[in-house]
């Protein structure tokens, strides 16, 4: 390929495609490389996308037939012990009407392909089945293009946007950002389990187009810092579980054994009963939070989305941060192309935009949250059992006075956690999310 482009984008995920949409909309000559046979071939996520950020690049996404499984109207949070657990749920009529598509489930194989089609229609060039294997550098070390695994696969571009996701051997090889440490990522495994549409409607108490998400904490992650989830698709459920990679290593847990045990939990098994597994996948989540964000711009290149470790674990927001950062990268690139300064300095508008938007504001707000989870393993070890004990005792009608029950619960609690530890827990929890 002897052609020269203004911008070369590595990766056709939400970050890369939203940038491509915006650049192509503004007549910037853009090429996107994707290693999968089609966009989405390599990607998984839990399953929830957000209409707000999608509308910024494809305002008429509803008319354009975006691939949706179910519109999310209810969010549940479970805190599980081995025998049972707590459930809180929030449902709102607003999510059926005025705020429809605020959040919706989808699959990445369909979504990413559709989204990339939108960028192509706007004029971006998409090249699939192609791995970017190196960055081309100019005499001053600035990035001037990419090398691909195709014959004669060097492509020159004024700016390269690295939207290649969290698992980046390219980062390892070229050093555009450091390789994450095991404690900075969570490894998640996911299964898609097919069930008839009516069965899902009934089990989750919804009409066909509406859906439910369940986020799950507790000892289902076997004492490791982790989460699980169950999301409703039209004719399947997405079910996944993950934990910090360092914890997996240290505790010698096999991810698929934990997944199988999770599927047998008394609160989970009835929901998936009779379902047929369709697909089994694995992926990292960027867990490090604000402190793990690398340098976001260099001479001739920028990082967006998961490659920049932008993920809000508490709110399970990743695709929206990817889309927003891709968009802001595109804006900064256009600014730099206009001024002719493609150095790190010239591209600094990117970081400024991120800082003044919800992207880095939210990341900064929850800066302590990953540390809280990693430091307070009791959340995944002793507390789930104690919390269940409390509810189980209070709800059991057996002639024992409630005061005596409270004492039993309190004593059980005190055996596992000192007052000091408990206060520390509450204080750290509050500080990590305030």
């Amino acid at each position: 390929m002897d052609e020269r482009f203004d911008v070369a984008i590595v990766g056709a995920g939400p970050a890369g495609i939203s940038a491509a949409c915006m650049l192509a909309d503004n007549g910037v000559k853009t090429i996107v490389f994707e290693r999968g046979e089609y966009p989405g071939a390599k990607n998984i996520f839990g399953g929830v996308l957000y209409g707000h950020d999608l509308a910024q690049t494809v305002p008429d996404y509803v008319d354009k037939g975006f691939p949706i499984e179910r519109n999310i109207v209810e969010s549940r949070l479970w805190y599980l012990s081995q025998s049972g657990g707590y459930s809180v749920a929030y449902r709102d009529q607003a999510f059926f009407q005025a705020r429809k598509f605020n959040a919706f489930t989808t699959g990445r194989a369909r979504f990413d392909r559709w989204y990339a089609e939108q960028a192509k229609a706007k004029g971006a060039v998409l090249v699939c089945s192609t791995v970017v294997t190196d960055l081309l550098r100019g005499e001053g070390g600035q990035v001037i293009g990419v090398r691909t695994d195709r014959p004669e696969g060097d492509v020159f571009a004024k700016v390269v946007l690295l939207a290649d996701g969290i698992n980046s051997p390219l980062a390892r090889k070229t050093g555009f950002r450091p390789e994450p440490k095991p404690e900075d990522v969570a490894l998640a495994v996911k299964e898609v389990i097919a069930l008839p549409e009516e069965v899902i409607d009934e089990r989750f108490g919804v009409e066909s187009d509406a859906g439910v998400t369940i986020e799950i904490l507790g000892d289902v992650t076997w004492g490791m810092n982790g989460v699980a989830f169950i999301y409703t698709n039209k004719r399947s459920l997405s079910l996944g579980i993950g934990a910090n990679l360092l914890d997996f290593s240290q505790q010698k847990v096999k991810p698929y054994e934990m997944l199988e045990a999770f599927k047998q939990h008394p609160m989970v098994a009835p929901l998936i009963k009779g379902g047929k597994p369709q697909e089994y996948t694995a992926h990292w989540l960027a867990e490090g939070g604000y402190d793990a964000i690398p340098r976001l711009a260099g001479d001739g290149f920028l990082l967006a989305g998961d490659s920049a470790m932008l993920f809000n674990a508490l709110h399970r927001e990743g695709t929206n941060l990817a889309m927003a950062s891709g968009r802001m990268a595109a804006e900064a690139i256009m600014e730099a192309l206009g001024s002719g300064d493609l150095s790190r300095n010239g591209l600094a508008g990117y970081v400024r935009r991120l800082q003044s938007s919800y992207v880095l504001k939210d990341m900064a707000k929850y800066r302590r949250f990953p540390h809280f989870l990693q430091d307070h393993k009791e959340l995944f070890t002793t507390l789930p059992g104690l919390a269940s004990l409390a509810a189980r005792e209070m709800l059991t009608v057996n002639g024992i006075p409630k005061k005596a029950k409270q004492r039993t619960i309190w004593e059980a609690f005190r055996r596992k956690m000192s007052i000091r530890q408990s206060l520390r827990f509450v204080w750290d929890a509050w500080r990590s999310v305030r």
Binding site: R35, G36, E37, G40, A41, K42, N43, I44, F45, G107, R108, A109, R110, F111, D112, C128, S129, T130, V131, T133, T148, D149, R150, I166, N167, P169, R172, E179, P180, K181, P182, V185, L187, V189, E191, V192, S236, L245, F248, S249, K252, V253, K254, P255, Y256, E257, L259, E260, A261, P277, Q278, E279, Y280, T281, A282, H283, W284
Partner: protein, 93 residues
Amino acid sequence: MSVKVEDKLFLNRYRVDEESHLRIIDYTLCLKECPDQPCLYICPANVYKLDRDRISVSYEGCLECGSCRIGCPHFNIEWRFPQGGYGIRHKFG
């Protein structure tokens, strides 16, 4: 609990390359300096298995998560993406 991960991998669609994209650099290091051998259990596809005293690599089932690359305490695994278009192809994602 013993779970057959092969049954799960069987659900997936792959386009398998003839050449492995994963390579253990130094086998003696695995035996002599890696008592825990984390690659044997962190891998969600059970790609690494102990065959007598040598670790075998069934790269065909790899889910391309990257965990073995950063989880190997000696960085003893040479890891690249499968050639463009090869490897796992998600149906749903």
